[in-house]
Symmetry: C2
Subunit: 470 residues, 2 copies
């Protein structure tokens, strides 16, 4: 295990540190060992059957070569890359950009950046989207439209708007070379448009669900174009894959973390998991995890169609910032949470706190320490404050933030989530709960065939009483 | 009630829309009417006694005049304003900046901005803080150090670092004019430094707790300096104050919202409240609310020292973005949440979706609508999808985002929180749960008098077993 290896410390999830009745017992975890072996077997079976393609994209050298070639050309030709996409089409690129590029990447002079400026437009708010389009010089901007199905209403609306915006700015017919469409190999309107009109495109292997697509063209192309070393990222993911190839829950970091979350909910009533990195750069990773976890496990039906309760609600928090916002609730409020810390041990910038005011006791203790030392001290103090109050918590440790450690971290979360789905007995790859909202939207927008949904919306509106609106 | 009046629609919190046993009954709300009258009386009593000064800062014309004068000078002299502060010293300024300035404010050419560029440094991550200092031209940058107690370790560390950074960049002694200290009128190290060394400073009225300080110099100075119309903001807050001056819970938007949250937890077991604006610009407001709510109500002891369970865990989500991330969990997962939508009815930028591809059914329905229409349609569809599945939700309606509506919204949340504290019987103005973590941090950092805490930290570390670290 070298210093780049991501570690996982789960002492504070267990009774031996938290006190009797407050954490899990070793026997609780032993109790899922057999099931873990069975789930491991089922996952291997799915891999062989090709139903979990997200495992395999890590090894597709041909795909990677193509992505890197396209990214190289983008870096040479364009100043700005705008991702038009939402959810799984956006969060991976955002996480990688925030973690691995300079915090002010987009605002640095061109010569100080290693790749294009990257913007991710994952909402359809007219204020932000309109102002972004106005801000970017059209002639220097490439739009990467990402939708696995090719049908995402918001992304299609953005595409239509940008298409006209570019035609107006650059002259008719000149817009086409400003687009790269990333979508299914065969199906959907975006693929149809790419084929019939000759837009540049990248293909997604069948079955890669959005939230598991960070290691495909969806996440890798924007990352590589903006300067992330994606080969090292993939090597990290593969290294974690190797560590998670064992069926024994006590030895597999992804499986034990999945089991701890499941058991903390089922045995100790923790309905909330807070993911709390002590690093600004990892908030995008936390956000990405929240989608992965919520959409994969937040199910009302198990694999056989029976009612289930679904998983913990993921919440993201930031150390030290949220110590001054949410920590009061986590320490003293309802004991219904587990806190998943992510701690980074080394920061690349050493900043010393000067020894000024050595005569003042309320200032002197700071001087001579590094700023990162203070950050780490607060992380340890918060961990101890929670633990001493019997609150379950665990810590993922990264020596430094590098493409290799981030690759490990993201892939660990993917395996953890699929494994937890096995424990919850739910399908981690579908999202039936959002279908109704989509159909109702079609109804309001007047799409043909959705007249019933249009009437249903009006029915709900009519049910409302005036006296309950202030 | 004019079009600028913020409205609150709570139909979908009640049984009559959700179905029997799924929402609150009218009788549930009637059941807290008497207590609401008593809490109202207690709040009025506290206002008279001066223990809730956040109510009164709205009316202090003298303070406001001073803040506006300082802000004017800042706008004339400086290009960048950096807030050094965290929690209540940061979140108000961030919320106002995001809601009311241009989404790309900091990156626009100077002539297109109405005020200084605003940066809020509310973490001590060496990567982000170090890079920010490197990026900003020292000679054009003012640092507003904000800490009510003047003792916040992270803010003091930032202050010491910036002080030396400026001395080095500008020559010894030249740093002083680059600081504005906002702190207590009399106590604490920052006040002492301001007085003895002659730093410019603003005073906080005694007793204004950080998370209730957005309408004091803490929130108003950065807002005014960056171009926000704070007079209109305060007028909005006062207008909401007038509407919330009635003791009757059925007529008071802040009280009914506080009561609905309390009752949804106590009567229907909802341990989570999700605040979900359909507007990018309001995510800062959501974040600000999460602190206000969590730190005010996340208490383990009531006013008499008895054990209590504390309030709901606040979570922020963004429409439409989180429809593609969290909505599956909200619709289908555990029924332990209430969703608080914030809907904006009108956007200042009309963006039309072009009528391209009218022959393709999967694209044609979008054409001819506005982008904001699609956003609103998705908001209504999400509301209906949740409601039809029996999930409790309510909606705060803003006609537009203006200083006046934002003033109303923020002040409504403040009153709602103080009122809810009355129902929970907890003190909304303290945060005893974070004290232990602060003392443990002092211990690790070697502050004199905290040797016991240092030993405690080592004890927790020693309790850890190697086999529970992978």
């Amino acid at each position: 295990m070298n210093s780049e290896t991501v570690r996982f410390d789960f002492n504070n999830m267990l009774e031996h540190t938290l006190g009797r009745g407050k954490g899990l017992r070793v026997a609780d975890i032993d109790g899922v060992r057999k099931r873990a072996h069975a789930i491991h077997g089922a996952i291997q079976e799915m891999r062989r059957a090709g139903t979990t393609p997200f495992y395999n994209v890590l090894f597709e050298e041909g795909e990677l070569t193509q992505i890197l070639e396209v990214a190289d050309k983008i870096r040479q030709r364009w100043e700005n890359l705008v991702v038009l996409g939402v959810g799984g089409s956006a969060l991976g690129a955002k996480a990688l950009h925030q973690a691995l590029n300079h915090p002010l990447h987009n605002w640095l002079p061109a010569e100080e950046r290693e790749g294009v400026r990257l913007f991710v437009a994952d909402n359809i708010d007219a204020e932000t989207f309109g102002n972004l389009l106005e801000y970017l010089e059209p002639s220097r901007t490439l739009f990467n439209v990402i939708s696995r199905s090719g049908e995402t209403a918001e992304t299609l609306a953005q595409f239509l708007i940008v298409r006209e915006h570019l035609s107006r700015a650059l002259g008719p017919g000149r817009h086409k070379e400003h687009f790269l469409l990333t979508t299914d190999t065969e199906a959907g309107p975006l693929r149809r448009i790419a084929e019939t009109e000759g837009y540049a495109s990248l293909s997604l292997p069948g079955g890669v669900v959005g939230r598991y697509s960070v290691f495909s063209a969806v996440g890798l192309l924007p990352a590589a174009a903006s300067g992330v070393d994606v080969r090292s990222l993939l090597a990290g993911a593969r290294a974690m894959g190797d560590r998670c190839a064992v069926p024994e829950v006590w030895e597999n970091p992804a499986y034990i973390n999945g089991a701890l979350h499941y058991l903390s909910q089922r045995k100790r009533g923790k309905g909330i998991c807070v993911i709390m990195p002590y690093s600004d750069l990892l908030m995008g990773v936390a956000e990405w995890f929240c989608q992965l976890w919520a959409e994969s496990l937040g199910k009302g039906r198990d694999l056989r169609g029976g009612r289930v309760q679904g998983a913990q609600c993921p919440v993201r928090a930031l150390g030290i910032t949220d110590q001054h916002s949410q920590l009061q609730l986590y320490v003293d409020g309802p004991d219904d949470k587990v806190i998943d810390f992510i701690r980074v041990e080394r920061f690349s910038r050493p900043i010393a706190i000067p020894r000024s005011y050595q005569g003042s006791e309320d200032l002197a203790y700071l001087g001579g320490h590094g700023l990162s030392e203070l950050l780490l001290a607060e992380g340890h103090a918060t961990e101890a404050a929670l633990t001493s109050n019997g609150r379950m918590n665990s810590t993922i440790l990264l020596d430094r933030i590098t493409p290799h450690t981030i690759g490990q971290l993201l892939f660990m979360f993917e395996i953890q989530t699929v494994f937890a789905a096995g424990l919850y007995r739910v399908n981690p790859f579908d999202q039936p709960g959002v279908e109704k909202g989509k159909r109702l939207t079609y109804g309001i927008m007047g799409r043909r065939g959705y007249e019933k949904e249009r009437r249903e919306i009006m029915l709900w509106q009519r049910k409302k009483k005036r006296r309950f609106i202030l």
